[in-house]
């Protein structure tokens, strides 16, 4: 018996030909599938590894995948999958050679709860440090505490949802591993955006901020990929595609939303507000005359807007 993704669910030995498959007690292979007839198909071995299969006039019929058409009879080999009712199966001879067993991989170190705890402590320390930097007034401190709390709650929720997905997808919750991935991801995101922010400020380049956003999106995609790897057994490519889609939708939709909200304020002035400590400033700066000369571009842009 084979699942939707080709995984083997159960194996039945068949000792004689012809053999019948159905739901009644006198069948050679009994299926507990309400959509399968009492006697659904009969199978004969034609040559070694080849089988003739015949539908016994069941209501729902029989199909040989990937075809979706009902067939009354067919000849199949050891790799063909037959579908009756909601059940899929294939037939292989005793002489069929199976592949070698897979090696048990040592669980990655990050799956342990110790690593998770360490990551949580580092992330919390980072938020406290950030709060210390940004809040210089008591009112702001309360606000920052609230935002840290929100982040912690959101993080816990994120980890819980991934654990639940892991659990329902069939195996274990992997709570610690998901927690570690989430914490390490947040840490990496923060380090990336902060360092890019400082770099963009110090070198006075606008495109580094674009790069920073693109990098953050990629990093987010990778975090989702790691969670997916923990949660399901599907192929790497499938995980990568899903993760990329989630990252693109999240960041693309997010920036679209920010633009839409920004456009609601007709007096919005969008430029970089980033100001860091002078010691991070690398460039010497352009002269006022050169700066003013660059404003030609602004004039062209607003003249274009007015002409629209």
């Amino acid at each position: 018996m084979v699942g939707r993704h080709g995984e083997v669910l159960a194996r039945h030995a068949v000792w004689r030909w012809p053999s019948r498959i159905g739901r009644s007690y006198d069948m050679d292979v009994i299926l507990d599938d309400a959509f399968v007839a009492a006697a659904h198909v009969e199978i004969r071995e034609t040559t070694e590894g080849r089988y003739a299969i015949e539908d016994l006039r069941s209501l729902n019929g029989m199909r040989v995948l990937p075809s979706s058409a009902k067939q009354s009879s067919a000849e199949i080999g050891p790799e063909d999958i037959v579908r009756i009712g909601h059940t899929q199966f294939r037939i292989r001879p005793r002489s069929y050679v199976v592949g070698g067993e897979r090696r048990i991989r040592q669980g990655a170190a990050y799956r342990g709860s110790l690593m998770f705890m360490i990551a949580v402590v580092i992330v919390l320390a980072m938020f406290v440090w950030d709060a210390f930097l940004t809040a210089s007034h008591r009112d702001e401190k309360a606000l920052t505490a609230l935002s840290v709390f929100t982040v912690v709650a959101a993080g816990a929720m994120w980890i819980a949802i991934w654990s639940l997905v892991s659990r329902t997808a069939g195996r274990r919750a992997n709570f610690s591993a998901h927690g570690f991935v989430a914490c390490a991801g947040v840490l990496a995101l923060q380090i990336w955006t902060t360092s890019m922010g400082y770099l963009a400020f110090g070198l006075d380049t606008g495109w580094l901020e674009t790069l920073s956003a693109a990098g953050a999106a990629a990093l987010f995609g990778y975090i989702v990929y790691r969670h997916l790897r923990l949660a399901s057994r599907a192929k790497r490519q499938a995980h990568a595609i899903v993760a990329a889609c989630i990252a693109i939708v999240t960041f693309g939709g997010g920036s679209l939303l920010v633009n839409l909200v920004g456009a609601m304020d007709p007096a919005a002035q969008s430029h970089s507000y980033s100001l860091k400590a002078p010691l991070f400033l690398v460039v010497r700066g352009i002269s006022p005359a050169e700066y003013i000369a660059r404003s030609r571009d602004l004039k062209h842009a607003v003249d274009g807007l007015a002409a629209r």
Partner: protein, 427 residues
């Protein structure tokens, strides 16, 4: 940033206090009465009506000057001048006669308009050519707050010294709806046109000197060409000429002032008012001193736009307790504050387009952000904001902002450059 209250748009709660029984000065009362009787028929209520309805969008006052011409404020009829298809104008005289009005000529910066209608035998008021003397008595007439024709007594207090354009400082209770009405001397000659009151003052009112009305009338009478239907071209031209005048007033080296180790641009002329303040709060480990200079006279264009002003602000941020990282964060927060214009409308303005760079000023590097937007109805006019945040020290920073509304691009850039070049940090 306007500190002028437009009479037309001022909402005032009427307090009906019982009048105190006082013994009037009989001679004066008689004089006022006679004067009022003589000129009342010349003062009309001007109504701005929406479409074909009889609903008032706004009301003001005006006075007849002969040949069917009426002088009023530009701001009374601004809606009609810029949106002739949406609004129409009507006059109503004290005897109940009414009729439609057409705009003949405008003086936007002096807030005057000449309109024409079939006013019949309404007596023309004479304009006084010489100014009054300080302390002289005057009478202002108009239709305040939807009331009937009202006469208000007041004192001529000379020309206001703090406005960019000449305005008579008149001490008298001018109210919303009296805009455009005449202020007359005791002989009944018009010496000023009601235009505004000070929002925070009491009885501090402003009149446009009659000489400007005289000039506009001469222009209206001599102009052979029929007046345009839509005046936005004329309004734009007058705003551009206001900008040129302003640019001329701002020529010459920028005055500067010392703020600790910093030298920054200071008040740029008598038409600017400046105020200093300090933001110190307990439990806040930094303080901010601010210096704010602005022009009290904005040019009224329509209810959604007052323009033609230059404003700037310096803020000195100082902290001994915060380290460089935390101080930088305070800077970031303060950099977002802006003295941006009160007036933004999609009808008038494009969106802002901005640039920001690190600029090497005299003795200090600074982040400089500049935003520009253009006027849609008036060719060649822009709003510009320039913001400077110095990056010279981990405990002291200057945040300066220059804002210019309704100026030409060249003017905006010339003053921006001079503003940047005037900032100096003495180590």
């Amino acid at each position: 940033m306007s500190f002028r209250a437009r009479l037309l748009h001022l909402a005032v709660a009427l307090l009906c206090a019982p009048a105190l029984a006082q013994e009037p000065e009989p001679e004066l009362s008689l004089q006022t009465h006679a004067l009022f009787e003589r000129i009342r028929d010349s003062v009309a209520q001007i109504r701005v009506l929406l479409g074909t309805s009889d609903t008032h969008a706004a009301t003001g006052s005006g006075f007849a000057v002969g040949d069917g011409l009426i002088v009023t404020n530009y701001h009374v009829i601004a809606d009609k001048a810029l949106e002739p298809d949406v609004y129409r104008l009507e006059f109503v005289l004290p005897d109940g006669r009414r009729g439609p009005l057409q705009i003949v000529a405008l003086d936007v910066v002096n807030d005057l308009a000449v309109v024409k209608g079939d006013t019949g035998p309404a007596r023309a008021l004479a304009l006084r050519s010489r100014p009054l003397s300080k302390g002289d008595r005057g009478f202002s007439l108009g239709y305040p707050l939807g009331q009937g024709l009202t006469v208000v007594e007041g004192i001529y207090n000379g020309l206001s010294e703090e406005l960019y354009y000449e305005r008579i400082h008149f001490t008298g209770a001018i109210n919303s709806g009296m805009s455009g009405g005449p202020a007359v001397d005791s002989a009944g000659r018009v010496f000023g046109v009601n235009v505004a009151t000070h929002r925070r003052g009491q009885l501090v009112s402003f009149l446009v000197p009659a000489s400007y009305a005289q000039k506009l009338l001469e222009r209206a009478r001599s102009d052979e060409a029929p007046p345009p239907r839509n005046f936005s071209g004329a309004v734009g031209a007058q705003l551009r000429s206001h900008d040129r005048a302003l640019q001329k007033s701002l020529e010459g080296p920028l005055p500067t002032q010392q703020l600790g180790p910093l030298v920054v641009p200071a008040r740029m002329g008598a038409f600017m008012q400046c105020a200093a303040g300090t933001e110190r709060e307990r439990e806040r480990p930094y303080d901010v001193n601010s210096y704010f200079c602005y022009m009290r006279s904005a040019v009224y264009v329509d209810p959604k736009l007052q323009t033609g002003t230059v404003v700037f602000r310096h803020r000195v941020l100082r902290s001994q307790e915060l380290g460089p990282l935390r101080f930088a964060h305070v800077q970031e927060t303060k950099f977002r504050d802006s003295v941006s214009s009160d007036y933004t409308s999609r009808r008038h303005h494009t969106e802002f387009v901005c640039q920001d760079r690190i600029v090497a000023l005299d003795g200090v590097r600074a982040k400089v952000a500049q935003c520009l937007r253009r006027y849609k109805l008036f060719e060649g006019l822009y709003d510009m904001t320039l913001k400077v945040a110095t990056l010279g020290d981990s405990s002291l920073a200057l945040h300066s902002e220059l804002q210019m509304d309704g100026v030409s691009y060249e003017h905006a850039m010339r003053l921006s450059q001079r503003f940047l070049e005037a900032i100096r940090w003495n180590q």
